[in-house]
Symmetry: C2
Subunit: 199 residues, 2 copies
DNA sequence: GTTTTTATCATACACTCGTATTGCGAAGGA
DNA sequence: TCCTTCGCAATACGAGTGTATGATAAAAAC
């Protein structure tokens, strides 16, 4: 029954199942059978779409990168227009931090893959890609803000963009293990924004 | 042969074997047999010291926390005396970043456990403990520096201590996957120190 | 000197794992 | 209409897993 089925769509659905299993029991507990059960298909079906477990996990990580990118884009669209540059930056960075359920789940999955990336360059490449994509957008906004005179005198736009993103990413881990509350984390973000933006 | 053997010492040695395996093949590939092989003992010996794999990994994480604490203490002792407060902070934070081989290895192991911590509160507790211990020391130094008038006017000592530590911890991941070079990372640290310290 | 303890090992057991193989039925091209 | 292709499933297999059990030898306790 090769009913015309969207191959990529199916793979994405399986990737979502991978995320669900990681979120529940951790990436070390992910088995191909678990993913099949989560997706409510047979083991053979998963094998049909991914020749190997490694291929499945790599695809899942790529899907995660795209998914985060899409989520940030829609978050931005939710901003009441017209929005200041500072508000855009704040809203986007806030969205990258695990402070509600969806973002928290994404962060858990990201860290799981990070642990793989320290030992397998293929995962590292995808995570690096995800990181630099967001950083590039942020640097663009900062350059615009700098040109518009919205930054405090003496601050370097590129450096501040990088530092700010590093700061928010540094908050991810502590937020997940309860070292900081979401309020504290957003407070640190706002403090940094106060120091950077003049307006 | 109960030749008086230091139980804790043996456990620490096995924990080191755990770290070695994690560093080579990742935490998901850690089996009790691997650890035994790495430590050059039999499977039964590992079982003698740890009733279960979970207990072994938890002990290893506790040992990691102590080990990092000890390493930071000895790093501090290596500072040419008398050292300014700023130099102490810089040297210590630099030591927490994965920029050479030992610190890199420690970071890899930490991230591996972090991935467990997102799903198992027992690991989260230990990591939280490690995090707050270092943060407390840092805040102490900042409070002293503040009292001595070494900070720039208008900066809040506690907030800056937290932000600075979060920044350096945010650099750990990118450093491991090659998104930043050690030079860039230290540059960001120095930039932040310039902004905080008056002297 | 006998008896406990204890450190260490070898082996066994019941799983679960990733992956390969095979089969089947339905759709699409000829 | 035939027949190739494809989505999907069931099953098999060997390897590796965590853990339990039994044996051995040596040090300690008495």
């Amino acid at each position: 029954m090769p009913k015309k089925v969207d191959h990529e769509e199916r793979r994405r659905a399986l990737a979502e199942a991978v995320f669900a299993v990681i979120g529940e029991r951790g990436i070390e507990a992910v088995s191909v059978r678990d993913v099949a059960r989560q997706a409510e298909v047979s083991l053979g079906t998963v094998q049909h779409y991914f020749a190997t477990k490694h291929e499945m996990l790599l695809f899942a990580l790529g899907h995660l990168r795209d998914r985060i990118g899409r989520r940030l884009a829609t978050e931005m669209a939710l901003l009441p227009q017209p929005a200041t540059r500072r508000a855009t930056v704040r809203h986007t960075l806030r969205a990258t931090m695990p402070i509600d359920d969806p973002s928290r789940h994404e962060a858990v999955v990201t860290i799981a893959f990070f642990s793989y990336a320290t030992v397998d360059p293929a995962y590292a490449r995808l995570l690096h890609d995800s990181y630099t994509r967001i950083l590039a957008v942020l640097r663009g906004w900062f350059a615009e803000a700098d040109a518009a005179g919205e930054l405090r005198p003496g601050v370097d736009a590129a450096t501040e963009a990088t530092s700010l993103y590093v700061l928010t990413q540094g908050l991810v881990g502590p937020l997940l293990i309860g070292t900081f509350t979401p309020e504290e984390a957003v407070g640190l973000l706002d403090g940094a924004l106060d120091r950077i933006f003049a307006t």
